[in-house]
Subunit: 383 residues, 2 copies
């Protein structure tokens, strides 16, 4: 079972430092989890992921893996760790979000959600029990419950009904988790998800319902879906007050570097987002001085590193001019080099946040760093 060791709490904010002990090693929080939807973090191999990017845990996806390669292959492989050759921790999203965002047809019923595969149109039915069964087949260290992720904006009445449904399903998820056993000889953990859209009373109700069920950790879902940033921060801050100190707190799908730092300040430990990987593939690079659009003509003969302060494989070996050339020529290597850099940047960011919390400088550092990194080249680009 997940052991959560609360190492330190910031005196000037709600920021925390924890060590989470899983069957596949310790996760040092605050942590960012690279997204490996289909059992691969797009464009980088597992050796790079572990040794160059220094990922401590990756996120994979129940909905996607269930459809491809399917659970028969997954079980024959001995679970996802063996299938993808990744010996560090894995967290699996329940698939709830994908059912709601990807499927062209979905119907929510009291006991689950019926949906049409975005790949071949085949019909499937996910229940809390079914999702637990799939996550047992995957063998993730941290399993997420099936929930309903409300969109933004969301009417109060719908949000209330949905929050109730997510709480009801949470009970079923927990029961199914307790009734089943891991398939591969190591402990798995189940995290509950707090919903409630942007309504404080619903967030409070949800938090109390979910925490009452005693999960191994708690996530805040249904944010970063289009609401204003300030509202997201307010919801995070409000919700973490109802989350126990001795369990990890995960803000799902967040976000930009500045969002992560603001959420750390408000008491969050874990993050995931496709932004560093997706932006990398679109030539948007994060640096300690703001984002760069590597296709920009101004980098044509710029032989500097992407980020002067960065020690990633890409910055240690290649110039902006070379990376621009690869993007312009549509070379596959561009995708790998940009992905390595962006993920390294995210991992360094949370690692530094941890150090700053430990030495009491987090709040001051956070303000300075946000001013620098949130400069977006796209706003004042030459082209």
């Amino acid at each position: 079972m997940l052991e959560t060791e609360l190492i330190a709490t910031d005196k000037k904010s709600k920021a925390r430092v924890c060590n989470l002990k899983t069957a596949h090693g310790v996760i040092e929080t605050p942590i960012f989890m690279p997204v490996g939807t289909l059992g691969t973090v797009k464009a980088v191999n597992q050796n790079i992921l572990e040794h160059e990017i220094k990922a401590q845990i990756v996120l994979s996806n129940t909905y996607h893996l269930y459809l491809r390669p399917g659970m028969e292959v997954m079980e024959q492989a001995g679970g996802l760790h063996k299938f993808m050759n990744w010996e560090k921790p894995i967290l699996t999203d329940s698939g709830g979000y994908q059912v709601f965002s990807l499927s062209e047809f979905r119907k929510i019923k009291p006991d689950g959600v019926e949906f049409r595969s975005h790949l071949d149109g085949s019909m499937h039915f996910f229940t809390p029990e079914k999702v637990i069964e799939i996550e047992r087949s995957i063998g993730s260290d941290i399993m997420m419950v099936l929930d309903e992720c409300t969109p933004y904006p969301c009417e109060y009445d719908y949000a209330k009904k949905s929050q109730k449904l997510t709480s009801d399903w949470a009970v079923l998820n927990k029961k199914a988790f307790e009734k089943t056993k891991p398939l591969y000889g190591f402990d798995q953990n189940l995290f509950g998800i707090i919903q409630g859209s942007v309504y404080k009373d619903l967030r409070e109700r949800s938090a109390k319902d979910i925490v009452n069920l005693d999960f191994n950790g708690y996530a805040i879902g249904g944010l970063a879906v289009g609401e204003p940033m300030e509202q997201m921060y307010e919801m995070v801050s409000f919700t973490t007050d109802f989350m126990p100190e001795n369990k990890p707190r995960y803000l799902m799908g967040v976000g930009r570097p500045e969002n992560i730092l603001e959420a750390i300040e408000r008491g969050i430990d874990m993050f995931d987002c496709v932004m560093p990987t997706r932006n990398a593939r679109n030539a948007y690079l994060f640096t300690s001085n703001g984002t760069l659009s590597m296709r920009n003509n101004s980098y044509k003969n710029d032989f500097n590193k992407i980020d002067e302060k960065c020690e990633c494989y890409t910055c240690s070996n290649y110039s902006r001019a070379y990376l621009r050339h690869l993007f312009i020529a549509k070379e596959i290597l561009a995708l790998e080099l940009a992905t390595i850099h962006n993920l390294y940047f995210y991992l360094e960011l949370v690692k530094t946040a941890r150090e700053k919390i430990l030495n009491g400088e987090f709040v001051t550092w956070k303000k300075e760093i946000i001013n620098k990194i949130s400069i977006n080249e796209l706003n004042n680009s030459e082209e």
Copy 2:
């Protein structure tokens, strides 16, 4: 200047073992040169290329680099080695082949070839002098002369005229090479190219013309362009008899593993081909037991290595089932893993050929290995 040390010649065939000393290190022949057209071997980074694939030299392309990123960037970078961060030898194709195969408009004139860029339609004029100038800007260890590569089939009269043109241009190439100096403080070398289509008298004439000009090495061009394999082998065997023993011999654009072994037997030292990299990206994998089409349904739950005997990064870490999953899901990692495997296979093949020549077992081994590796799954595939 290129030092060619002829280490051994096979007693039972014309196969040879050489060490070629360049400013960027020794090349041990027979050697296969991975193709890095635009300053990147598609889908693999330079660290993988050097340490996992163990490439000794890569091929890049004058025509492509001239168009993108252009020679201004190339010179500002300090040449291609620095631009792409590759410290081992580089050979550059002259661009002649690309002018003839890619450009929608080209006009051969006595002093060069006028062509339209396949990228933006702009007009350019390549002369032997211009190509030497570009290759000086690139800073390749081995520069190729501008030639005309005849198609197949090719009328005798055209082939004869073309062979004469290539010989005339060879003189101009050599002069331009002697008149110019390297830009980056290390020696470059120039290889001549023997043409003559499938006509023995033209091949002999061309070989004598070109060898007479005393280049640092000699290539056979204009083969592997559609002629029957036996005819290619015959031409290679015929032509190498006119090539000096103390200079490297390069068969351009060849080929399948069995083609390479047959050509080694006929006295060739160096090879390049897009086949291992291009096939990899199309899910065709070379193994010691023939080729596999990794999208095949039969690999869905096949947890064996791609090649039981292979020790490449891919085979050491991932299964056929995982690779198939990546290809089916169109994941970028599939391209990298397949490319690593195929290039490793080619490099191992020529490395073993070298060992077998040295211990006198080459001819016997070649027959055995060709029987195994030339089994093509596509011929008897289930799907």
